[in-house]
Symmetry: D3
Subunit: 282 residues, 6 copies
């Protein structure tokens, strides 16, 4: 599988902000209790089963704090590991390890949490069905790049990155335009030719209208599976179909079997519980 | 109740970053489909029961986008509302409302999610027991100030803000120092006199050592309720007691009845599901 | 025509940087020579024919310097004006007007220069041919959002905004993949489903390969017009065609008549001469 | 010749912004098509004759993206090279090279464009005449430091950097003061003693007034060559003379022969066409 | 007297940083003790005699915290006031006033401290002697613009702003060049023509060399008054003279009488004690 | 003694700002006079007796300018040295050393100035008395972290870092609450349990009220020594005592003998004169 890529300058900006929150005034406990010269080795350990994600980010946290710290990647990005598996090993000045512990864990726990949930959704797609699981723009403000990366590490795919990277016509746009046909026509005339035109539809009538207007993708919003199946049938050969709206793990299989091309899942980024990862000093 | 306060310049910094993520390249759908002069009114509506939180943040999102937008606060910060309640009403240019929709919702959904979970924990404390629910430093990187505010809006309290604002001696500090007594002594000698000295203990033996060394607060880490009760008995009149470590809603009542002063709950900020809030155009 | 939109927070970030460059150490000439209480009115005047662009940016420059300054928009964004036309009128403290003059002019001269050149290209497309003129990513570092806006103000369209907003497979990607088919297949499998797949081709052989692999857009790189016409013929009904590579104004008409869908022009943003605009005090 | 110097922290700030524009959401094409482990070597090649400028900036772009990338400087800053000359060679991970390609080229094309135009102006000064070519403050917002460096690399000189670094009295300052004498007197009394006093004059009458008031430099604004020659005669021994206002390459020689000390050329930075540089993979 | 000018965007950047330091985690005392709706009026009062400076900065601190706060300027910038004088009056929400108190006072106490010391030096120049008092680049990192403004408010003048705004050749430059003549010649050839050439000299021999090479200003470093007087005599009509190096208030008069043009005083910005200003609630 | 720790990312942010002030437009003197290839060694030398502080900061200044520069720490942080002692030795490109000289010295002179004054206060505490000297929040805006570090390097201790890290109830909070008892009660109920409650008192009556309400620390504001001694007697076993308000070096001994636990000294950070440190080239 292609290895997801996360630009270093994007990581560093997020790491800097996180350190500013936690370490701007120093670490009064560590400075008082730990001698400056003490060295240590600590292992970041999965406390429960999870998909490992965030090693390069943890490494940049420590690079920002102390250039002498060494970080070893024990679990590849995207590896499914069992509880008690060592993910990453950190060695160097004990003060530095302690000063960065919480910031590093806060980041990798969220990233691994999202990667794990993404993997669960991907694994719920029945073998042989080509349905793609994607995220949405319901990401944590300030962490979109990390979370989209975690989604890919988990094996799912990304939806559009931002309001400027693709067209997605929703009910309010349609209302403002006076109709689906008009909205799609305007978007095709004005948006970059590199973007597909996606249109949200709430009913089969709207679906037909969107297909007639030449939508490239139809977003089937909160439809039951029978309706989705009918929508897929009507859209076949004309547009990609995307199911969205509170899709749970339990529903993935039936939606996939209904033939939908894409299932987009906001929960991957807005409600994934943090993975349980701890730092053990040797 | 005292109204929590969230500094405006802190909000604005977070809002700016969030807008950079979503709107730096403009909104190609809205620009194509919605005329610049069209105006609208939209209501942010709770889709399920929740504790309202984030109105001032939503207002700053729109202030950043368009100084002419008006935001009305329909639900006070901290109000428990039922599904279908209007929380905030936004009126002005339709383009501006649409351009800010996702960023605004991403922020208030997280804040209301945390406030709601905080309220649930606070409400689980039996009447008459003085136990305090607090957050931890397991916050979302970049959003700590918002999340700590949401915790207070939910009726819970904050733990220390960062590594510089209070002393919390953990096992690794103790190991590096050579013992609890030494760690507490060093911290009292060197940390600001305005900070209490909190010490994590894993056993009653450690507890006794921490109390003897004069700890102001003892963090009872992952102890069962019987042990907590004994720890509370030993600490009475000497130190505050704080229970921590994967505390679920179900366990709050028994811990409170065991007499613990504080229960700190990482899940308030690391795993609260986003509250379901939508934007309805009139 | 739909009015292009430029987010205010994007403008303000650019304006702040520009002011930091020019005004961080104050304006020693103005402070010495102009009394603080003196007021004035100044008109930004086109010194030659141009397409007006940048009024909202000029207004934000002055808003950043002095909240009391009033800016009146005399020429609509996108208006073609003759030499000596007043574009915008600024009134308030004379010191403030002078302190912001160079920064404001540097911005609007570039924006109007790009808008003017974009309009020239658009006007060179023969009536009745649907060819679209677009920019490229060859923008001035730090000013991409302003320049893309200026391109739209001039009546042209935008290409993809950045490396994350659409797929464009170039020769080096093809080489790294081992072929056009493999590159397109991989991109379709992994990139967001909202992005079209564009593939650069240098020859009709490559074109056929790209079409066979299902490219949504083919980028005809540096082809002569006869070849472009043949490429258009082969791509008809299968993919959009985009001509690129040093296209001059003189060649637009023949390329459009050859039926190409899109002509992308790097010069719109990398080599547009600044429009000549001066500030006249009344 | 003294080698121009460009502070690293200034480069890095500009590079970071440029990467934020292009790479904040990753590179979906490269991630999909190029394996993470693939390495490559690419050469930045002049497609036409130019003055090389920007090697240290290109190197910092790649340093920001990937610390393992190696950049070799093949052409010295300021070297005049023919088409097909390799300027810089980049080797390392193919993904990194591709991800930084556009940002790096956008920067060096502008810098080399300005350096080339500056060299053309410098070369137009007849041998034996001491006239100096300088830039103005008509720089690209956000890139002033890079452009002024490119001007020096091209062999020309810089004018004042910003509004706080030297006094330049223009017509509006004169009007606000009530006259040239008053303006110069005020400036001498109040501005830093390290700054010369330059005064713009539109006529020989104004010139005489400025010289009488003790101006250190007179800016001859939009004067014909005969008038410039007379101005030079009158100013000899009293003040430096600077010709400005739409000076073209063709006029440089006659102005220099007229004896003017300085010719300042806004076009060096506001209208230099980008130099044509491409990236060829081996 | 001309009123010094301090650009708003420069103030705001400094204010934001200062608020980040003190208020990023909220104000736990004020939130607990003061109701959100309480209003108040507070007066910033001089506790001892001083030169008022910083009113516009204090106003921006409160504008950043709370747009509803009103700030009244009771003492003009540069006014010499006695102890117990009200300088500025702040009214609005009591919480906001308290949250900004320390940041505002920290800024205005430093600014007024510098303005007061500057005024003392200016007043020490005997009437009728034209000697100018200036600051140096020995400013507080991050606050240079505020401090240079305070120097002007105090009636003194600014030296060069930064390393790019004027030439000042020091002993190490001379050593690197191989002599004063060479250094001055190089600087004249390469530095902007708008900058004077200042050269530091330690002896009368060096002075003669600098004058012969055409220095515009000579910096008389740590010379006794007799030597300064001789230097002034030799430089008359050729260069400005500047005395520098640990000049105390007591020595100003004799140096001025020795005829030196400029006395530059590092202590204005590196060692001015903070002025004593308190905030009294009504 | 425990070695104070200053996070690297905090230093770098301050260094970047300082370089922006001084070096954003380059160093026109050094570029003109010093060849790019010249190397040198320079020693930062104490010109008078001082406590060394700032070596790690000086090192980061040079790391920001030129990765090839080597900095050797000759005097440990906190070492008391005599005049003429070499503190730090810098070697590498002469241009780089010169370009960073002023920024580096401005930082270390302030840090060493504060460390020296802190040491003087600490040394004024009579042997055998346990009184602690601390700073206050009266720090230089933007430099709080550096100054608090310098205070610790000087052997003194820090007070609370910011408004969110501890409770300090002042007269205005008391007035807004309706009394000391109410203020302390509210603070205990709402502030983090990790913070002690400090209350400012102006009289023995207020002291008794604060003690009765359970204050952890009482701030004795501007009291004479006899009153301080009585306050200490009353507070014994109930609360820590802190003397504050214009405490001079001369008064430290008598206050310490009066038994006060803490003396907080604003002058450590708001009025410490810069230490005299120069840079000598070998």
């Amino acid at each position: 599988m292609t290895k997801p890529e996360l630009p270093v300058h994007v990581i560093d900006e997020i790491v800097k902000r996180a350190l500013d929150e936690d370490l701007a005034a120093g670490d009064i406990t560590t400075e008082a209790c730990v001698d400056a010269a003490t060295t240590a080795t600590a292992r970041a350990v999965a406390r429960s089963a999870l998909v490992a994600c965030g090693g390069p980010v943890l490494a940049r946290v420590y690079w920002a704090i102390d250039k002498e710290i060494r970080v070893r990647i024990d679990a590849e990005e995207g590896a499914r590991v069992q509880a008690a598996t060592t993910l990453w090993t950190i060695s160097g000045r004990a003060r530095s390890i302690l000063m960065g512990e919480r910031v590093a864990l806060n980041l990798v726990q969220r990233m691994s949490g999202t990667a794990t949930l993404a993997r669960d959704f991907v694994d719920a797609v029945p073998p042989g069905t080509p349905t793609r699981i994607t995220d949405t723009r319901k990401t944590t403000p300030g962490l979109r790049a990390l979370e989209r990366y975690a989604v890919r590490v988990g094996g799912a795919r990304n939806h559009r990155d931002n309001l400027g990277s693709a067209v997605l016509i929703k009910d309010n746009h349609i209302a403002a335009c006076g109709g689906i046909r008009e909205a799609i026509t305007r978007a095709r005339a004005r948006a970059p030719h590199t973007s597909k035109i996606e249109c949200e539809v709430d009913s089969l009538e709207q679906l037909d209208e969107a297909l007639a207007a030449g939508a490239d993708i139809v977003l089937l919003d909160n439809m039951d599976t029978v309706t989705v199946a009918e929508a897929v049938r009507r859209a076949k050969g004309k547009a990609l179909t995307e199911a969205s709206g509170g899709v749970t793990l339990a529903r993935v299989a039936e939606l996939a079997r209904a033939g939908v091309d894409v299932i987009s899942v906001g929960a991957l980024t807005h409600s994934a519980p943090a993975a349980d990862i701890g730092l053990d000093f040797e």
